[in-house]
């Protein structure tokens, strides 16, 4: 055959690409003949060839229309077929909905917390600039350092330092402690958001001695000042001082930066350090630094530049810096930091549940397919094309997936609400969890993926079996070897995946129990704490502060139901801490400078109120509170004693806190260790100093009660107000609540993991049960023959159970192997238990085997009840 050459031929060949594949060759032959005719007639072939495009387009359109019509027919047929098998449909849809629902709800949280962009313009340019702490986490920095960074670096558009502030608002109504942020004028450039009313701070307002100004949050402005449009320029009273309101932030401004290290700020005021004594201190690390990268500077470049600057600073001030350097962390990852691992872990776990669900649905579809093999083979023998039959099978899967997916989204919506309710409150972004378009898109994708996963198996299985073979095999209703092996494999997969999840739960549960068993060093039960901050102009001198606290303590101690009262600068596990550099008499200064133990200011019966045991010497008491009269004293904890006084008595030893010029303090007593940060962390060296010798206006009242702790809360608050009506009393909680808050994340992960593992186990057992029940039904005849030939009922029972249990054991073995490979991703969630803990692995294997035995014995029992003569007569 001659090929039409030239331009016209090329046009036809291009147009041919539009024509459905099935008719393409023929179409080209037709057009080649056509062009030949035009050439023969001596006319332009190009003009004619242009006509090939409308022709091809029409055929293309027609092809798609036919496909869609065919799909519609198949879907209608599938719907009719499925409705006739309600049990099958119910099982498939319920399984899918369960798997998808769980996946969608976890993803909606992952999306809101981890994937949501920061709510700031070009928020990906905002970074945390930090000196890493001992654990390598971003730590606090000093003002002097921030000033040098700002002067020397060229990578940032703006660099701001912030610190938390508790402002007491006394205008109009009850005194209220308002979480606030003290920062520089640059703060608003870093976040990229300006006040909607008024203005931000000016740089000159950050100077010590400048007029005090404040920017309010939209919510505070609305709640406390009734949304007064004239608020800008009005003075308000904060902690007894006048502050001029200069601006109000927009309603949608999220105080993420303050939330990250402190609390959600409701107002912002300048640091006012510039020009003050504190300005140049390099070791006063109490600020957090944030910066906005220049648009053309990548994070890596900024990191390199800052590293060099930090080395220069360390060279100039070797006593102020160690070799930890500086770290830049994108704000987004820092915000989601603590929960990131847990959430990915949960998403991984829930994907396993979805995988089991898909395996089960595949198994169900497969079982049904083998039941229909005769019918299918018959139809194939009667001339139905393989593609046609396959199309129908796929339409069924599509329909099942669509119904299951829709129900899954509904379930996911509920699940999401439950998740948010269960989640620890300090997970950022939880209020943005919703079934929004990205989550729905994910749901559709997950559904489609599931449909492929469970739809592909029967299709694979169906191909490669000739109709003759199937008809022959089908004659006796014997399960085809290939289909059976596939279903066996799916059950093995079910069990293996369930094992992996159960091992995860076992390890997490053991960790949780062990964390709860950790002795925190104090007894939280029956103790209530509240913040009482003596702040304001009348408390600028030490005398009134001490007098105030002494009076409050005296009054509350005499309340009925109170066993002991004390005050402490930071309660254990309350989230805040204080460290101080010390020198111990007779100890060489270590090369890294002074060691920095935790330092707490206490007053009254703190140790008795918290039941922190006194190990040696005496507790601090009234005689240490005589002000200038009493000698300087300090108490230490057990770890401190063992670190600095190994094998000797520390009582009478001396140490200095803070600076070279500080007075020597005598150690008068040793108390037990307190886990101040987390139950999981070993205690650090700790120091306790009396309030009279280190006056602090930030104290927590700690009250041990005889009865219900809640009962004394109101009375205690009234006593504080009886001493000074202008002092707010926020942060009221029982110490049990404070400790529980610390284990909330662990509890959250554990409860979700256990839910998923339970669902996985139930699904896996349903899978085993379904498979065996099906096999028993298929082998009725064979069992009948066996019984007729004299097999005992116990033999039949064993036969069936052995089949199920051998699959289970293969699954258990594979699952344990998988768990060994996967649990290392769990290790950061574990406490005091190895990822390969043999007890957990064996326990999970045993539990699964036991449950599987029950699942196997049900169909096996049914098999033993088969009546041989009846079975055979039916045949």
């Amino acid at each position: 055959m001659r090929r039409p050459d030239g331009f016209a031929g090329a046009l036809v060949r291009v147009a041919a690409l539009l024509v459905p594949r099935s008719g393409r060759a023929e179409w080209r032959r037709e057009w080649e003949a056509e062009l030949a005719a035009w050439r023969e007639a001596g006319r332009s072939t190009t003009g004619s060839a242009m006509g090939a495009f409308p022709h091809a387009l029409w055929l293309c359109w027609e092809g798609w229309t036919m496909k869609i019509e065919q799909l519609g027919r198949n879907l209608r047929l599938a719907a009719r077929t499925l409705v006739r098998r309600p049990l099958f449909m119910l099982a498939v849809v319920a399984t899918l909905a369960l798997g998808l629902g769980a996946t969608v709800s976890v993803f909606s949280v992952v999306h809101a917390v981890l994937l949501r962009p920061l709510p700031f313009p070009e928020g990906d340019r905002i970074v945390v600039v930090a000196e890493p702490d001992a654990n390598g986490e971003p730590g606090p920095v000093s003002h002097g350092t921030v000033v040098d960074w700002r002067v020397r670096s060229g990578s940032f558009e703006a660099l701001a330092a912030v610190r938390g502030w508790q402002a007491t608002l006394t205008d109009e109504g009850d005194p209220e402690q308002v979480p606030a942020l003290r920062t520089n004028a640059k703060f608003f450039d870093v976040v990229g958001v300006r006040p909607e009313l008024g203005r931000a701070f000016r740089a000159d307002e950050d100077l010590e001695g400048a007029e005090r100004v404040v920017v309010l949050s939209h919510a505070l402005w609305q709640r406390r000042f009734g949304g007064d449009p004239e608020i800008v320029g009005r003075p308000i009273t904060l902690t007894g001082l006048d502050y001029m309101v200069v601006g109000v932030m927009p309603a949608d401004f999220e105080p993420l930066i303050s939330e990250l290290y402190f609390q959600r700020a409701a107002l912002w005021a300048p640091l006012r350090y510039a020009g003050s004594d504190d300005a140049d201190c390099r070791t006063c690390r109490h600020l957090r630094a944030f910066a906005r990268l220049r648009p053309d500077v990548p994070l890596r470049t900024a990191q390199v530049e800052m590293g060099e600057i930090q080395r220069e600073l360390a060279g100039m001030h070797p006593d102020a810096y160690d070799d930890r350097g500086v770290r830049l962390v994108p704000l987004a990852s820092e915000v989601a930091g603590p929960v990131r691992r847990a959430l990915w872990l949960l998403l991984g776990a829930v994907s396993f549940v979805l995988l089991i669900a898909c395996a089960n649905v595949a198994s169900l579809v497969l079982a049904r397919a083998s039941g229909q093999r005769r019918e299918v083979a018959l139809r194939a023998a009667l001339g139905a094309g393989r593609a046609h039959l396959m199309g129908q099978r796929l339409a069924e899967c599509l329909l099942l997936a669509a119904v299951g997916g829709t129900l899954g989204v509904v379930l996911g919506g509920w699940g999401t609400r439950i998740l948010v309710a269960l989640a620890p409150a300090d997970v950022p972004g939880l209020d943005h969890v919703a079934l929004d378009p990205p989550v729905l898109a994910f749901a559709v994708a997950a559904t489609a993926l599931s449909a492929v996963l469970f739809g592909i198996v029967p299709v694979l299985q169906a191909s490669g079996v000739g109709p003759g073979e199937a008809l022959k095999e089908g004659g006796r209703g014997v399960v085809g070897g290939r289909s059976r092996r596939l279903r066996d494999a799916l059950v093995v997969l079910d069990v293996a995946v369930a094992i992996v999840l159960l091992v995860g739960v076992g390890l997490t549960l053991q960790s949780f129990v062990r964390v709860l068993r950790v002795d925190p060093g104090f007894d939280p039960e029956g103790v209530v704490k509240m913040e009482v901050n003596a702040l304001g102009p009348e408390y600028e001198e030490e005398g009134p502060v001490l007098g105030f606290y002494r009076e409050v303590e005296r009054r509350i101690a005499s309340l009925p139901g109170v066993e002991a009262v004390g005050l402490v600068s930071q309660v254990p596990m309350g989230g805040s801490f204080d460290r101080v550099g010390i020198a111990v008499e007779g100890h060489e200064e270590s090369p890294s400078g002074w060691p920095s133990p935790e330092r707490y200011v206490v007053q009254g019966d703190y140790f008795r109120a918290m039941r922190i045991p006194l190990l040696a010497g005496r507790a601090l008491g009234p005689r240490d509170n005589e002000g200038d009269e009493s000698p300087f004293v300090v108490m230490i904890n057990d770890t401190f004693a063992r670190t600095f006084f190994p094998g000797e008595s520390p009582i009478g030893g001396r140490l200095k806190m803070g600076s070279e010029n500080a007075p020597w303090r005598t150690i008068v007593g040793v108390v037990g260790d307190v886990r101040h940060y987390r139950l999981e962390d070993a205690p650090n060296p700790q120091l306790y100093v009396p309030e009279a010798q280190w006056a602090s206006g930030y104290m927590n009242l700690v009250v041990r009660t005889r009865g219900e702790p809640a009962a004394v809360i109101d009375a205690a608050r009234q006593e504080v107000w009886a001493v000074d009506r202008g002092i707010p009393v926020p942060g009221v909680a029982t110490m049990d609540e404070v400790v529980a808050h610390h284990t909330a994340r662990r509890r959250f992960v554990l409860s979700l993991l256990s839910t998923f593992a339970t669902v996985a186990l139930v699904l896996a057992m349903a899978g085993i049960y379904g498979l065996l029940a099906y096999h028993v039904a298929q082998r009725t005849h064979e069992i009948g023959v066996r019984v007729a030939l004299g097999a005992a009922r116990s033999d039949v029972f064993r036969l069936i159970v052995r089949e199920g249990m051998s699959l289970t054991l293969v699954g258990v073995a594979l699952g344990l192997l998988g768990a060994l490979g996967l649990t290392r991703y769990l290790s950061s969630m574990l406490f005091d238990v190895e990822p390969t803990d043999p007890l957990t692995l064996l326990g999970v294997a045993g539990l699964t085997a036991a449950v599987a035995f029950v699942a196997c014995s049900l169909p096996a029992r049914r098999a033993t009840r088969l009546d041989a003569p009846v079975v055979l007569s039916i045949e």
Partner: protein, 102 residues
């Protein structure tokens, strides 16, 4: 809308008419109807889908000597013939309409 109720386009009628006259090759149909290939071929495809025409490849023996590629010929089916008659009737009726005002 079923094809029976829709008045076929003049081009379709022209193609049907050409086929009824016994002209069975695309090139020849274009020649007599003076329609371009981009009109005639989609019409033929549509008519074929509606089973109004039937296509067949010419016998290889018929063109072996000429050396040209095999051609696809179209002929009207019975349904096609009645569709043409009906369309012709309706066009005539259309022509008989006497509007009140021109």
């Amino acid at each position: 809308m079923s094809p029976r109720n829709r008045l076929p386009s003049p081009a379709t009628v022209a193609v049907l008419k050409a086929l009824a006259e016994g002209i069975s090759y695309g090139f020849d149909i274009m020649d007599v109807t003076e329609l371009p290939s981009g009109t005639v071929y989609p019409i033929l495809a549509r008519l074929e889908r509606r089973k109004l025409v039937q296509a067949s490849w010419e016998d290889p023996a018929a063109h072996r000597d000429t050396g040209r590629p095999a051609r696809k010929y179209y002929r009207l089916t019975d349904a096609g013939r009645s569709a043409l008659d009906e369309a012709a009737e309706r066009y005539r009726a259309l022509g008989a309409l006497r509007p009140e005002r021109a």
